[in-house]
Symmetry: C2
Subunit: 203 residues, 2 copies
């Protein structure tokens, strides 16, 4: 059912620049609204008001509040990816690359604190989107590490366990040092965590 | 308010073995009910039925569904701690100790899959209990690692970043290999993750 709904929403992909701008305004308004009030207390009326879009226009872009929420989870998941990609492009050292990915993610989390509330609420409101977000993120980390291990640049063999371990580390460091506390510089947090995955704790 | 409520519930601590047994039955029923149906769809009536306890008796132990939920988060948090403690007692090597802690936690997560849904929902239903759970867990890891670093058994300095990184790793490995997939032996998952925190990925 979720797949069918996703496909139906995909049919609503805007074809003009103006349409894309309106869709973007609705997603940004949804980010603020869902982040602030949570899914159940949020309303389409309030989201369209925030976006400065007529209520009727909403349905040109999304079928329902539920479809908008799922689109937002996919959108934020993609924006995390897009925030990390340029930060790691051209970094040859694979461990340093993961450190740069973490630093970029911490910066993103600080600028978009709503992301935690939204992705975390997806576990209950849109569990398939929630699971997809983590599976895709883990798959990207796994691919980077397996390539590096194949080139002999890190010690292998690399396993899904490594990918989920690094992702969990990043998610919780983002929660602690991106959302809860803002006093530690993100570069410092990333450097300490990166030294851990570089050399470990053993003497 | 949450503190006042917690204190009030604390006053309801049963003083007899029979009272403790009834309270335990209510917590176990709550674990099943909240884990299955989520907080909003769960009811005191249904929880007392599951527990085989008269509805009126409920209020001898808890003030409200909300108070029960908060007590359950504290209870599960304590049970994770109690599941890990004997598994790491007497392990001298501090890195191996963290691996044993992870293995014990993975086993607990497999046996109590509801824990994720309950702790994760606490972010929305009982945010103070949710935060307390993670802060206490991180504090325990930090204490273990700082002691080991002070003894020169692992390379320091140890920082909150290490504690949150390890906790995040454990939480996501529990989600993936405790709750989502059951085919990997927990010992194997713990061994791979532990090698990562022992020696890191660098060649």
């Amino acid at each position: 059912m979720a797949d069918a709904a996703a496909e139906k929403s995909a049919d609503k992909t805007p074809r003009t620049a103006r349409g894309r701008k309106t869709q973007r305004a609705l997603l940004d308004a949804a980010e603020a609204e869902f982040g602030e009030r949570g899914f159940h207390e949020s309303s389409i009326v309030s989201i369209t008001k925030r976006a400065g879009v007529a209520l009727g226009t909403f349905y040109t872009y999304f079928d329902s509040k539920d479809a908008l929420f799922r689109a937002l989870v996919r959108d934020m998941s993609g924006r995390v990816k897009d925030a990390v990609a340029p930060a790691i492009a051209g970094i040859e050292d694979p461990v340093g690359r993961e450190g740069a990915a973490l630093e970029a993610f911490l910066g993103f989390a600080r600028d978009h604190k709503e992301i935690y509330r939204i992705i975390d609420e997806a576990e209950f409101v849109a569990p398939d989107s929630w699971r997809e977000h983590y599976e895709r993120t883990a798959a990207r980390i796994l691919e980077r590490l397996q390539e590096a291990a194949a080139e002999g640049a890190i010690s292998g063999p690399i396993d899904e366990v490594h990918a989920w371990a690094l992702m969990g580390m990043n998610v919780f460091l983002g929660l602690k040092f991106g959302v809860m506390d803002e006093d530690r510089p993100v570069g410092e947090v990333a450097r300490i965590a990166n030294a851990l995955i570089a050399k470990g704790l053993a003497r």
